[in-house]
């Protein structure tokens, strides 16, 4: 078992300014950052506020920044980090509630309304079923983890920008409208703080753990807005 130094962002509302606490953590290379954070909570500081749920990158609740890069803590291996200390911070461009827990309200508010939380996807029509499984239902790729918004340099400048997740979601609706009001959706995407605020940094796609490819979807959304194809990617 190795010992790694973890530098963790700490903040509590009534506890003065934010700071970093350093912990020596027993972590095998195959352990995840979430394992390490839970180890800190159990063995060092039970007040450390972290958020997690599924442990396998499908719920999107454990998003953090590890050594400056957005990541889901539950699938980010300690052994994959560079030598030296591991710095863990909350997602950028979100209000921080405490420590590594951010307020997701502003993230959800960016989406066009109505915003169904999950839909069974009909796309593609003939998914390849993994061996040993008779059938499975595929939901939307986006797990609304917020990593894309954290990585976005435009969102860092102006928090009225709706952000990559909301725009990617809009483009998915264009691909499979299923009765949605596409005209109103395009009006929303054409708004002052929407599709045209993207500057094609593609950091959202780099950060996305779930193959949503938000930047590409934003570009396809733009094509739809300029009267090109109807938004298919």
């Amino acid at each position: 078992m190795d010992t790694r130094t973890f530098r963790v962002f700490r903040f509590a509302r009534d506890d003065g300014p934010s700071r970093f606490d350093t912990f020596e953590v027993e972590a095998a290379p195959g352990d995840t950052v979430l394992d390490a954070l839970r180890w800190i909570k159990i063995h060092h500081d039970p007040s450390l506020a972290i958020r997690h749920s599924c442990f396998h990158a499908s719920c999107g609740t454990c998003g953090v920044r590890v050594n400056g890069r957005e990541a889901l803590a539950c699938v980010t291996r300690v052994g994959d980090q560079d030598e030296g200390r591991v710095t863990v911070e909350p997602l950028a461009n979100f209000p921080v509630i405490a420590d590594l827990v951010v307020d997701m309200t502003s993230f959800v508010q960016r989406f066009p309304s109505p915003h169904p939380a999950a839909r069974i996807s009909e796309f593609p029509t003939s998914p390849e079923v993994p061996p040993g499984i008779d059938e499975y239902q595929r939901f939307e790729d986006c797990i609304e983890c917020g990593l894309c918004l954290s990585a976005c340099p435009v969102a860092a400048t102006d928090d009225t920008y709706v952000g990559p997740a909301a725009l990617a979601y809009a483009q998915r609706i264009l691909e499979e409208p299923r009765g949605a009001d596409v005209g109103a959706l395009l009006d929303w995407a054409d708004g002052d703080n929407a599709a045209w605020r993207c500057h094609a940094a593609f950091e959202c796609t780099e950060a996305c753990p779930s193959n949503v490819r938000p930047a590409q979807r934003i570009m396809h959304l733009r094509r739809a807005l300029t009267g090109g194809r109807d938004g298919g990617s």
Binding site: V182, L186, D190
Partner: protein, 126 residues
């Protein structure tokens, strides 16, 4: 239900602005190349910089005169559109954005007017 996206009138103002920025930028790839080559890589002087007589000689050529005028207009348009994009990222209110757009339009017109005057005066001396 079929998508109505292709039947919808595109967001004229915003997509037109983006298209203008992109189109002027692509045009500038050619125009800047011509301009830079002409003023840094043609004459044998140090740095390729033209003397007074060489500048007048250059601008007296009607083809180069037109190219430089077009270059001025397009580079100013691209600059104003780019400034608009950068400044819009500062979270301005709608009224502030409208004032900014008017201001940039005026600045662009003044810039082009001055530049064209300058080119015209130099061409008249040739």
């Amino acid at each position: 239900m079929a998508s109505t996206a292709s039947a919808r009138e595109p967001g004229i103002h915003r997509s037109r602005t983006w298209r203008a920025t992109a189109t002027s930028g692509v045009a500038l790839l050619v125009l800047v190349t011509v301009h830079m080559v002409a003023h840094h890589f043609v004459v044998e002087e140090v740095g390729g910089l033209r003397t007074y007589a060489q500048v007048l000689d250059y601008i007296a050529n009607p083809v180069m005169f037109v190219i430089e005028c077009v270059f001025l207009v397009i580079v100013t348009a691209h600059a104003m559109l780019g400034l608009r994009s950068v400044l819009f990222d500062f979270g301005l209110s709608a009224s502030a954005r409208r004032r900014l757009e008017r201001g940039l339009l005026v600045l662009g017109i003044v810039t082009v007017a001055y530049g064209l005057t300058l080119i015209g005066v130099l061409a008249s001396r040739a």
